[in-house]
């Protein structure tokens, strides 16, 4: 039994397939419209995901952090030990890490680099060490950002001098953690004792589980220090990046919708093209459909045959379009995120499925009128041609 004979068990599909094969050029052009529509809708959707991923990865780990520093109405030039204790007493599931900061010029082998200096005890909670170790309690060693180390030709174990003291480099840290405090500039992290001449802490970094927890903590601290008893005073400046992420993702959602809207318009144009093609081909085949009706083919069967034709067009165009969109998506992810295979993740790959489903849906939708018209034509009129 040949493939054609097997297909013949699905007469609607068989007839539709043969009918599409009769005018290949027209079929190809109609399908091309769908291909373009699917590529537009799917690749724009994926572009939105890629842009969002890039933006989120640039924000990095900052989104679950809350930063506290002295407010303009504070009596002190920084955050006091008492205030740190007060902050800690308000936290349940987060760690508060006080820091002192300064800046200096580090020199080694005749080269100089301007870096910000952070004095901190719990360094391992704040920094990702790419090489070496960040000890639980930083007491003697130092951490230095990769870029600065490279610039100065420093390696693990080399000494660095700050304020007359020498510190051995215990670990290298990733300095590209986005636009946080001191971002972009090189960083030197030393034990807090190295900055003992500064009485108060410059900032306290609180690391929460996630962005939502961080913004809760920020609100709570703000309320506690800046509202209770002292109206509209800013004793401590509390800032978190969670709301930044919220704004970015809400902007991204809007962008995504706009992109999908543009893609949707092209698919609507494509389905109008399908409507036109189906209408033309049913008008051309009017006599033939009349013969079908005369020999006893039911109206529903004619309807199904023509709808299947439209669905096949949509499926064909949708498949080719989804493949093309996957290629476009992989390219975009390669450029924006640096990982082409990320296009296959469900968050972006689902736009391929949406595009394909929309293509089939739109094609069937635009096949309904021509199919209905052909099926309900009077056989006598149709036979007359």
């Amino acid at each position: 039994m040949s493939i054609a004979d097997t297909l013949w068990h699905f007469p609607s599909a068989m007839m539709a397939w043969r009918n599409l094969g009769r005018n290949r050029m027209r079929t190809a052009l109609a399908a091309l419209g769908i291909v373009i529509g699917v590529v537009a809708i799917a690749s724009l959707g994926m572009a939105g995901v890629a842009i969002q991923q890039q933006a989120t990865s640039n924000l990095g780990s900052l989104t679950n952090q809350v930063s506290v520093s002295a407010g303009q109405d504070s009596d002190y030039d920084g955050v006091t030990d008492d205030q740190v204790e007060e902050i800690r007493s308000l936290l349940t599931n987060a760690q508060a890490i006080p820091q002192k900061t300064n800046s200096t010029t580090v020199s080694s082998r005749g080269k100089e680099a301007y870096v910000s200096v952070t004095g901190v005890t719990d360094a391992n909670a704040l920094y990702d060490v790419t090489e070496g170790t960040a000890p639980e309690r930083l007491q003697t060693g130092a951490l230095i950002s990769n870029s600065t180390a490279q610039q100065l030709g420093l390696e693990l174990g080399d000494p660095v001098e700050y304020d007359g003291h020498l510190y051995r480099i215990a670990g290298l840290i990733d300095s590209s953690s986005g636009f946080g405090p001191g971002g972009g500039r090189g960083e030197l992290v030393i034990p807090i004792s190295g900055l003992a001449d500064q009485q108060y802490y410059d900032s306290v970094t609180i690391t929460a589980d996630d962005g939502d927890a961080a913004s809760n903590i920020a609100n709570r601290l703000d309320e506690h220090f800046n509202s209770e008893g002292h109206e509209d005073e800013e004793i401590l400046r509390v800032s978190s990046y969670a709301n930044v992420q919220g704004q970015i993702s809400s902007f991204m959602n809007t962008l995504q919708l706009a992109l999908l809207g543009i893609g949707g318009i092209s698919l609507i144009v494509a389905s109008v093209a399908i409507l036109n093609v189906m209408l033309m081909s049913t008008v051309e085949r009017r006599g033939e459909i009349g013969v079908l009706r005369a020999v006893g083919i039911r109206r529903g069967e004619v309807l199904r045959m023509i709808l299947t034709e439209a669905a096949l067009l949509g499926t064909l165009g949708g498949l080719v379009g989804a493949l093309a969109a996957l290629a476009v998506g992989a390219m975009m992810f390669h450029v924006l995120v640096g990982d082409a295979s990320a296009a296959l993740q469900w968050s972006s790959a689902r736009y391929l499925v949406y595009g394909f489903a929309f293509a089939v849906f739109a094609s069937v939708l635009s096949g309904i009128y021509p199919a209905w018209k052909a099926a309900n034509d009077s056989p006598v009129e149709a036979l007359r041609g």
Binding site: W8, H9, P11, E288, V291
Partner: protein, 221 residues
């Protein structure tokens, strides 16, 4: 016994402000094993009459009986069902589907009935009209006479009681027309069916059992 009967059938068409009466009270019947030919000048209403007999159209007044059943007020879907099971059609210009092979064209009327094993019957019918070696040819690979034979095989696939032929030899040369008519006559006897034909072709009258003449929508006695 008559397998199809028209009683006092009237058909009026409204075209714009005008009313055209194509059939003005027509009586007609055809029996099994009989070939009836309807002749008449163009515009006489013979095509309209064939449409009534073929259940493609419904009369304005009068009665249509199929196998003694009154089918006058049948819905379009019921008429489709009757056409499928009881009627076969052969047209002047064959009307085969160009993208289907001969055997597929023959199967076409029954192809949506998945319960029927139609392939064997289709091949058998094509053999009987002398096309056993042309099963997988498409219509454009067949001559006019061969195409009309495929159409005849198609009209018989569901085992009808009546075969309706609208100028079956109209597009064929004299010799081919003759073999087609011989074919129809033979099948008419083999299958014991009524054949109702509309024609201009004088040679067809040699094969017909009875001739009905219609002029201006009225049967001439």
């Amino acid at each position: 016994m008559s397998v199809i009967e028209l009683h006092d059938v009237v058909k009026r068409y409204e075209s714009g402000a005008q009313t055209v009466t194509a059939l003005k009270g027509v009586d007609f019947h055809a029996d099994r094993g009989e070939m009836v030919t309807i002749i008449g000048p163009s515009g006489s209403g013979k095509s309209t009459m064939l449409n009534m007999i073929g259940l493609l159209d419904t009369p304005t007044a009068g009665t249509v009986l199929l196998d003694d059943r009154d089918v006058t007020d049948f819905t379009e879907d019921e008429l489709t069902e009757e056409r499928r099971t009881n009627l076969g059609f052969v047209f002047q210009d064959f009307h085969l589907l160009p993208m289907l092979t001969a055997v597929e064209n023959v199967e076409l009327p029954s192809v949506w009935d998945t319960s029927v094993d139609r392939r064997d019957r289709a091949i058998d019918l094509l053999k009987r009209v002398g096309l056993g070696d042309r099963l997988d040819h498409t219509p454009d690979e067949l001559s006019g006479g061969q195409q009309q034979r495929v159409a005849i095989a198609r009209s018989l696939i569901n085992g009808p009681d009546i075969l309706l032929a609208d100028e079956p030899t109209g597009n064929l040369d004299q010799d081919t027309g003759q073999t087609i008519l011989e074919e129809v006559t033979r099948l008419k006897q083999e299958e014991n069916i009524a054949v109702v034909a509309v024609t201009h072709d004088e040679q067809m009258l040699e094969y017909t059992d009875r001739t009905v003449r219609i002029v201006d929508g009225v049967i001439q006695q």
